[in-house]
Amino acid sequence: MSNNITLQQQILDQQVKLVATLELRSLQKTFDRTRVIHDASLTVEHGEFVVFVGPSGCGKSTLLRLIAGLDTLTGGSVLIDGQEVNAISAADRGCAMVFQSYALYPHMTVYANMAFGLENAKVPRADIDRKVNEAATMLRLDHLLQRRPTQLSGGQRQRVAIGRAIVRNPKIFLFDEPLSNLDAELRVSMRTELRDMHHRLGATMIYVTHDQVEAMTMADKIVVLREGRIEQIGTPEALYKRPCNMFVAGFIGSPRMNLIPASALASSVAMARVLPPNTEHVGVRPEHWSLCEPGQGVSITIRASEYLGAQRLIHAELPDHTRVELLINDDIELTPGSVNAIKAEALHIHAFDANGHRIEETVA
């Protein structure tokens, strides 16, 4: 009941800037003896846009549902604003969630969909009306309020789902792959719209996606997950420039980073960076290669070339047939079969040890 009242106050008092921090302390989740989340710890500051990214089945959605309170945790704790909410129901945590399938109530109009949460919180009619209309105007849904979800396009449904979250003025917005059902063009425009919305509302948002491009373009902070473990947390830039292990290195960035066995690079002399002795793999992003005079870099044989517009993606092979990819300007033409040499700057050469961990460059 008291939660009800606080929620009501939050909804009524829009002037109050919501401050919401989130903390996960060694979160664990087990389904039927299968552990899906191992010891996830994370701090989200107020107003941050955090993206959980990882391949399918990595537990990112589960993590989101644990935060929402839709699944119960097996171990650890979730703290919202410093308060443990493990025992608090999903309704009372003050989070709003946008589902992948949007989960709009099909038998209700757009207006009723958006008003449902407020009705449940016993908000006065007039306030519901005002808030729904405000949100509808903001999301350009005002002319669709009397329609049913089935009469809307994918993008419109998406916006209704977001509107349903907005009207409740939640502390934290949770998005579960909200753009995956949209076509490519719409996805890009919704991406910017969501970013704009984040700036306008200044709310804490957690966003789950399997698309690393989405993660890179939207996030303040990215959390990379694999098999229920957090691999790395950092800004998009940090993840791109200093991936902490081979998984993150391969996952973030498109096209993928070249991960070349150190042994394949016969002459490390050709590399601009002196590789540490325990280097097992060397990572260089395709866009960081540049062509050079033979003998000054790694020699490659061109296999195929894909024209991408401004750039060309070249598939090539090292002398020992290890495949490498490189992005070069489109004005350079490389004929398949020809032999060339490539190099990369020391800054762009990542070294990984036998366990796949990054070996930091020792400051000489």
Partner: protein, 349 residues
């Protein structure tokens, strides 16, 4: 127009394909087999008592014409008489003894003629005996029976929908220990014929003091395994995400059930409602043992009581049967689409 094109669809575009002929023959046969008895019943219910006893029976409700002849208290039946000289004459019959009938010409009531009964033909006219229906309400407490039946059907159906949907909601949307067991137990009761538990049911109703009360008929059969099964299967198809969204929207479990799950199960609820109406309206056994007083009879019981040991008032019985059939027919006519789509989507027969 569309109905006609639908009804007259053929396989071949121009000429009738032989399968069309076969198909229409088969379908016509089906129509006759299905509808002839019902049609016969409806026509018979409109016959007077005398017309019902006529042999050979006629399809249309014919009654003999009658006329008031001065000098006779009652109207006399009219006959067409073939006189010995081959003339046809319309005469009224005063009396009949053996094979000889005494007739009178309505125009000249004084002269009576004796004629062999083979020489006369009754003059019939089409006469719908609407009184059969009217009398039901006037002479008998038919209104009470109708009300009892309607009350039981409506209240029981409403309760059945409510309780079964609540059970189905729990069984389909909550994970708990023994969920499967409970469901199987409910389904298992389908294997027990209702006649077997009739005596225990009677004892319980008696103990609770619901004998001769309509509630004694309503309550024992409110929870039906068929209903729970049907609704559960349908509710399984409602995505859990909707419920989760509602939970995030601060909805209580009751509100989730009432505002989300129930409206979305409407097709399955419609099917169950139709089934329940049919079960309740046609139910005979349970009312028979629970209700023994005339004023608490349902239509079905009243129908039964019309069939006396010594004589049966067929004309009333038939009229009552027609009225008894009406609600179910109407339910089917208007909800047919729901029944088929609902049954198809619920995946049960």
């Amino acid at each position: 127009m569309s109905v006609m094109t639908f009804l007259l669809r053929t396989r071949g575009t121009r000429r009738l394909h032989w399968t069309d002929v076969l198909c229409y023959l088969y379908l016509s046969l089906g129509v006759v087999v299905m509808f002839a008895p019902v049609l016969w019943l409806v026509m018979s219910s409109l016959k007077s008592e005398a017309a019902l006893a006529q042999f050979p029976p006629t399809f249309l409700p014919y009654t003999q014409k009658s006329i008031i002849v001065p000098g006779n208290d009652k109207p006399l039946p009219l006959f067409s008489v073939t006189t010995d000289d081959g003339q046809h004459k319309v005469m009224a019959q005063v009396s009949r003894i053996g094979i000889m009938a005494t007739l009178v010409d309505p125009a000249a009531p004084e002269t009576r003629v004796k004629v062999n009964i083979n020489q006369r033909e009754p003059i019939n006219e089409l006469n719908f005996a609407w009184n059969n229906f009217k009398d039901l309400f006037d002479k008998f407490t038919f209104g009470t029976y109708l009300w009892n039946s309607v009350f039981i059907t409506v209240v029981a159906t409403a309760l059945t929908l409510l309780f079964n949907s609540m059970a189905a909601f729990a069984l389909s949307k909550y994970q708990f220990k023994g969920q499967k067991t409970v469901f199987l137990l409910i389904i298992a009761t389908l294997m027990i014929p209702p006649t077997i538990i009739l005596v225990p049911v009677f004892l319980v109703i008696n103990q609770v003091g619901l004998l001769n009360s309509l509630w004694g008929v309503i309550l024992p059969a409110v929870a039906t395994p068929t209903g729970v099964f049907l609704l559960r299967q349908y509710m399984l198809t409602i995505p859990d995400e909707l419920l989760e969204a509602a939970r995030m929207d601060h909805a209580s479990e009751w509100r989730i059930y009432w505002r989300i799950v129930l409206p979305l199960s409407a097709p399955a609820l419609a099917v169950l409602a139709i089934f329940s109406v049919m079960w309740r309206w046609n139910d005979f056994l349970l009312p028979l043992i629970v209700l023994s007083k005339n004023e608490s009879f349902t239509l079905q019981l009243a129908l039964n009581s019309f069939q006396g040991e010594l004589n049966t008032q067929w004309h009333y019985l038939l009229a009552m049967t027609v009225i008894t059939l009406l609600p179910i027919t109407l339910v089917f006519a208007f909800l047919q689409r729901h029944i088929t789509t609902g049954i198809a989507s619920a995946g049960v027969k």
